[in-house]
Symmetry: C2
Subunit: 466 residues, 2 copies
């Protein structure tokens, strides 16, 4: 749905809902893609959305439910359906992996009740199998629906199998070849079916070299393998090599989004949430956030120690205290920038350990330039305020200005250097460079920055203010 018509469509829906124009709504919803209907529902308040949902055609409703990003609304809609409705109207109409996702979101008791009500036995068994795999594993991600042919057959058998199954399987990318014990022995492209005669044996046509993963393989590893080898689909086999399901690249997109969230959370200085924000309970969320907040707080306590060490200097020249937040935050900000850049380039494998020297040279130059820019601005600010009479920094304002300017150069350089080198050190120690790097670098630079600042102050102000 084009962005331009969305607002007016939404107004229509609201009007029709209010005036109970059921027929108009049914028509409108029928013309839209389920993803668009889902977005419309999300724009309504939950009560309206619920009423609108129940006007959907039976075929469209499950797809709309699956396309909802607002998980609170999804939960409400599921809660307003009976167990039999969830089993018969929703689960029965969606693929095994979507059913698995949805069932995982239900409370434990309800999940059992719904599963018991699935009438199609094959579906029930598939769902039960998928549910046994832990969240974030290949098993939880795979679909069991696939086209399977026996290695002993001919291409004619293959075409027959395809014709029977083509209806049920949304996207066919590959035909899986198994032996009598269901062990995966090869695969065919759909185009192989066209370029070979029906009399040829599957064994002679198939590609026996198949990358595969196991049900307990981590989803992130599956995504790495698929991206690395340019695969659109990968089969899942058990310990004995028996074919269990397949994972397609569009499911991997969700995994990548999930990884991205985790990276952002790590960079933002917290433990990774297991569930989306709206599904995470307050106590579990506070625990995840408190861990790093406390670690950083304890690290930051050294600033009090460092400041205590220079208490005499502050006593003599209170003016020095005024610039403390400004100076240490600049070090922290430049450190965050550097660490973000390097971690990202490492994650994309643009940089490896051997590149540390190249990065160091680049960052020394960047740090000096950035520090120089801030130093000039900082000095100008002090000179301007002094000359314009906004503030009186005392008779030694020039020395104060130089202290601030030189401190900025060194602290920004130091922030840039630690920010860029710490990821290399963490990686060398086989730790994840992403873990809380940015706030960790900021804390380190805060503490050491104070020492740099007061040392430079001693140099410029000895015999004057100090």
């Amino acid at each position: 749905m084009a962005k331009t018509i969305r607002k007016s469509t939404l107004a229509h829906v609201r009007f029709d809902l209010k005036n109970r124009k059921v027929a108009d709504l049914k028509k409108l919803f029928g013309d839209l893609h389920p993803a668009d209907v889902a977005e419309l529902l999300e724009e309504l308040d939950h009560q309206q959305a619920q009423r609108a949902y129940f006007m959907l055609e039976a075929e469209a409703a499950p797809e709309v439910l699956l396309h909802l990003n607002d998980l609170r609304l999804q939960k409400k809609l599921l809660a307003s359906l009976t167990d039999a409705e969830v089993a018969g109207d929703i689960i029965a109409r969606i693929s095994s992996d979507d059913a698995d996702d949805l069932l995982r979101r239900l409370p434990d008791e309800r999940r059992q009740a719904v599963i018991a009500l699935i009438t199609d036995e094959a579906k029930r068994n598939d769902v039960l199998e998928l549910l046994q795999y832990p969240e974030g594993s290949a098993g939880a991600l795979m679909v069991t629906e696939l086209v399977r042919v026996n290695v002993g057959g001919s291409m004619r058998d293959c075409v027959r199998e395809l014709r029977t199954q083509a209806e049920n399987i949304h996207n066919i990318y590959r035909i899986y070849v198994v032996d009598d014990a269901n062990v995966l022995v090869g695969w065919l492209r759909l185009s192989d079916v066209l370029s070979h005669t029906l009399r040829e044996r599957i064994r002679d046509v198939m590609d026996p070299q198949v990358f595969s993963v196991q049900p307990l393989t981590d989803a992130e590893e599956v995504s790495t393998i698929m991206e690395r080898y340019d695969l659109v689909v990968i089969p899942v086999v058990d310990d004995l090599g028996r074919l269990k399901g397949r994972i397609t690249i569009d499911d991997i997109v969700d995994v990548i989004r999930q990884e991205e969230s985790e990276d952002l959370q790590k960079m933002g200085g917290m433990e990774v949430l297991d569930l989306p924000y709206v599904q995470t309970g307050i106590f579990s969320m506070v625990r995840k956030r408190a861990t790093w907040l406390v670690i950083l707080f304890v690290g930051e306590m050294f600033t009090a120690t460092a400041m205590g060490f220079f208490e005499g200097e502050i006593q003599k020249a209170v003016i020095l205290a005024l610039f403390v937040p400004l100076i240490i935050s600049s070090g922290g900000n430049s450190g965050s920038q550097a660490t973000t850049l390097i971690i990202r380039a490492m994650a994309l494998r643009e940089l490896t350990l051997v590149d540390w020297w190249y990065v160091m040279r680049k960052e020394v130059l960047s740090g000096l330039l950035l520090g120089g820019i801030l130093g000039v601005i900082g000095f100008s600010r002090i000179a301007l305020w002094q000359e314009a009479g906004f503030y009186d920094y005392g008779p030694y304002w020039l020395s104060v200005g130089f202290t601030v300017a030189f401190s900025l150069v060194f602290i920004v350089l130091w922030g840039t250097l630690s920010g860029s080198m710490i990821p290399f050190i963490l990686k060398r120690l086989r730790l994840d460079p992403a873990t809380s790097s940015a706030p960790f670098v900021a804390t380190l630079v805060d503490v050491t920055g104070l020492v740099i600042y007061f040392t430079i102050a001693a140099l410029f102000l000895k015999g004057k203010l100090l």
Copy 2:
């Protein structure tokens, strides 16, 4: 290649390179997937890698080159090839979109020279067309290789076309149906070919409802559309609806990775780099980083103003200055956490504007709990140091402790609230919530945190230290 054998393989390669055992290396490289060979090369120093590269079979070399993540190495290898070699040995063997990527990385003059040397005229025209689209557009992302059939034909024509093209096109997802003017009028699934007789007309079998994009559509929008409508491939058509190419979901994975980098850079407080870190020149990088660093610096200058406002208090109670970095950084850290969580949930559409009140309630509670935890730790630290004699906070140490503890509660609450509400405000104003939010929130909380801290200090220490 399994992770366990990688180290020994690498040792082998180094040994063979050193001892010029060319035959062994050729055999080893021949057995590996190009992605694995590329990773091996990246582990070598650039000189070794260059020597190893020239031992690859002519068919494997272009794929290995494309799989290199280390763009500095890729550049070196390209530089050591003649223009004719790049055109004849590399470009001729890869698909149009990969050729486009590679050519964009060459210096302008060299790019022209290489293109002039492409002997296959169709390929040269395809490449020239793709190069005219700006980086990050659908046109630059698409491949021109696809299966096209005329709407006037029968399914028999379709099968014939498939058979001729199956060899040249790596992954066939859809068959595109065009009219005599090459205007896209529908598409077929590969399975349609199997489930219909050869005599049926394409017009009757095809699905006339095709989502498409234009060459100048932004790559991020393409990815949104494909994810939204669960598409594995999307056709690209010009203004007049004429079929130009197709974009597959695996190329979209790269776009998502790119978006992710941009989000991280925005969150890390900098302008988005147009090129990877290793390709960005020092001055262009300093400019990108300086912009936000200066904005934040200017914002942070208000801390000096705020501190100047409380200079009298600091003069009387220097002890207050000691805790300034500790207290404001805690506000900043809690703000970063909150803003990271909310921006992410917004990007995934788990949260929309209507949820602000739900988030606010959740964050008030989180903020109070988190602030409480830090407050207790902060107070204990002061009490412990005082009692153990590590530091003497003076006769009013208890009041100092309470000042620090209560300031932490309020500042963490304030950080959490601003961090979670600012993304809603930015979104309401139709601005991108991601833009530098975390450092921006930290700066805001630094300045306001000082005011909170000194106000609470006045409350607890009036008549004692102040």
